[in-house]
Amino acid sequence: MNTFTIGGVHPQPNKLTADRKIETLALPKQAVFPLSQHIGAPAVPCVQKGDTVRVGTKIAEPGGFMSASIHSSVSGKVAKIDSVVDASGLRKPAIFIDVEGDEWEPSIDRTDTLLLQNNLSREEIIERIKNSGVVGMGGACFPTHVKLSPPKDCTIDTLIINAVECEPYLTADHRLMLEHPDEIIVGIKLILKVLGIDRAVIGVETNKQDAIELMNSKLSMVSGIEVMPLQMKYPQGGEKQLIEAVTGRQVPPPPALPANVGCVVQNVGTVFAIYEAVMKNKPLIERIVTVTGKSVKNPCNLKVRMGTPVSQLVEYAGGMPDDTGKLISGGPMMGRPLLDETAPVVKGTSGILMIPESEAARREERNCIRCAKCVQACPMGLEPYLLAAASESGDWECAEENWIMSCIECGCCQSTCPSRRPLLDWVRLAKNRVGGIIRARNAKN
């Protein structure tokens, strides 16, 4: 069975919510929309305080080529444009909307009917995706319209649908495949049309056997799209790892893109969002969020309007358990810690995870005993112990020579370190510094 070749770890899967149906969460009282919910320039607000908005009204325009628009997920009045502490842990500008009723933009098709066909051209599809503010739903939040317009000199031959969900705990993509397989298939066809190719592979790890079987039965009559079961290993959902697992090709180090090896990767949640955006004219205003944790009373998969405060999700799941030591937006390997429950759900919030104190507290760090477990775990073939040491002593040249920019911050190294060293903390710091040095150097030349 296929998988990627270098490194990788096997964290406890803890998929507590795999058989919980997606439930719809009630509307919040106030929705908050941070202006940077994606990689690239922040969006620019196009509403003012006091404006009335409806569900689906565009409230912020893209702030550049690499940016995405933001739409209101509620109807009501713009209360203020202020700042909020989001999952990045920093205070960022955001639009606050007080909710009144639930009035939708009339252009949105709110029915559940499955639409199979439309006669939009390639450009029109991209335009709709762009206008709907669709970004990568896997967590990186890369604007989708940019990703669907690969550089001209690259020949794309394979579309890979990322349904791996290798992060422990999270089941949002899994549930989406079980409950909306037809929509996903239509979405895949739309992307194939945009890319002008006819081969798509859905990569799924074998722990989602029911999803593999369902998709296979749905695809029995469809040609060009196949489901590829993958051996369970973290971080298979990493873009580069998935491409290697599916096609055997390795993406060269940055600044190379997956397009350089003829692949485009889209998350299965993104595919669903593309379906809704193109066929239903519905902007990205909702997403599936897994709310989970070992001691959470009612772990669940929720369909949540963007901007809903995390506290509302936590409450629905039975409140924050007393032993909670960490509140995480995303999965346990790559998610971001939240300072408190006030942060809003944004486009990249794939899960809300509550980790008990006993697991959350890091143990005391010890000397590196050079056991080489981090080197064996690193899926990018790096030497985390060396990079961390270089970072600690500020030796940015050494870090750059040893490929630090290839690091995908998957956390394998740190999660295996028997000395409990904060390897990734240091590597992140060095990556940040070396990235700055490289940018400065490029700007000079």
């Binding site: 502490v85 240091w426 710091l429």
Partner: protein, 283 residues
Amino acid sequence: MTFILTAVLVLGLTGLVISLVLYAVSRKFKVEEDPRVARIIDLLPSANCGGCGFPGCAAFAEACVKSESMDGLKCSACKKEVMQHVAAIAGHTVELGVEKIAVVKCNGSCGNRPRTGIYDGAVSCAAAALMNGGDTGCFYGCLGCGDCVKACKFDAISMDAETGLPVVDQEKCTACGACVKACPRSVIELRNRNKLDRRVYVSCVNRDKGPVAKKACAVACIGCGKCVKACAFEAITLENNLAYIDPDKCRLCRKCVDECPQHSIVAVNFPPKKEKTESTENN
């Protein structure tokens, strides 16, 4: 006996040959160096702090000898007299400005600024600053991981275990600026030493709006502007909800200190006032 003699002879001869080779090599590869450079290096602190902008003290000494004047050449770690001596050796004259000292502009001790979270990652302010706002509600203040302590080549900064804030030893600080560069949040500033090392400064870098700042820290500057009005010398400016006292205009009258409702303006090394002894001295 011959046994010992052989050993002595062999060793002695080997030593002689090696020393001859060493001598020859050292003569052959001798680098001609301006003797003044060595004399200047002797005067410099040899901390290689980089405060002068050169890779180390030796490079600085060479630059002093080579350049036309002492413009732009200043070892911030040296006392005035030493710099004058250096200039004299290099054949220049030098006019010295005010001596400076590193000042930590944050008073967010555990009491003033309650901790809102627990940070147990890498012990590095730079790493902590990258990830999020740190373990307090203030996204601007000191992170307390001691990057400045590590950066200081003169052992002049230490962490106060009680407040969790760095403390500058005013005897040892040479104002080389290494800590200023190391601090990812620009909490440390080089300010004039003034007479008797007296200083008045805003001990806060929080640029949040008043209520937000006040919620995060009891002694945060809330940008109310009272100090600006109180100052008779136009030394105080208010920008981004934060007051700043220009060290060159400030006359150390301490009117602003009394005026500040948040006690975020600090006066150091003044004799205690008569009635209320507000000792905010943190050095």
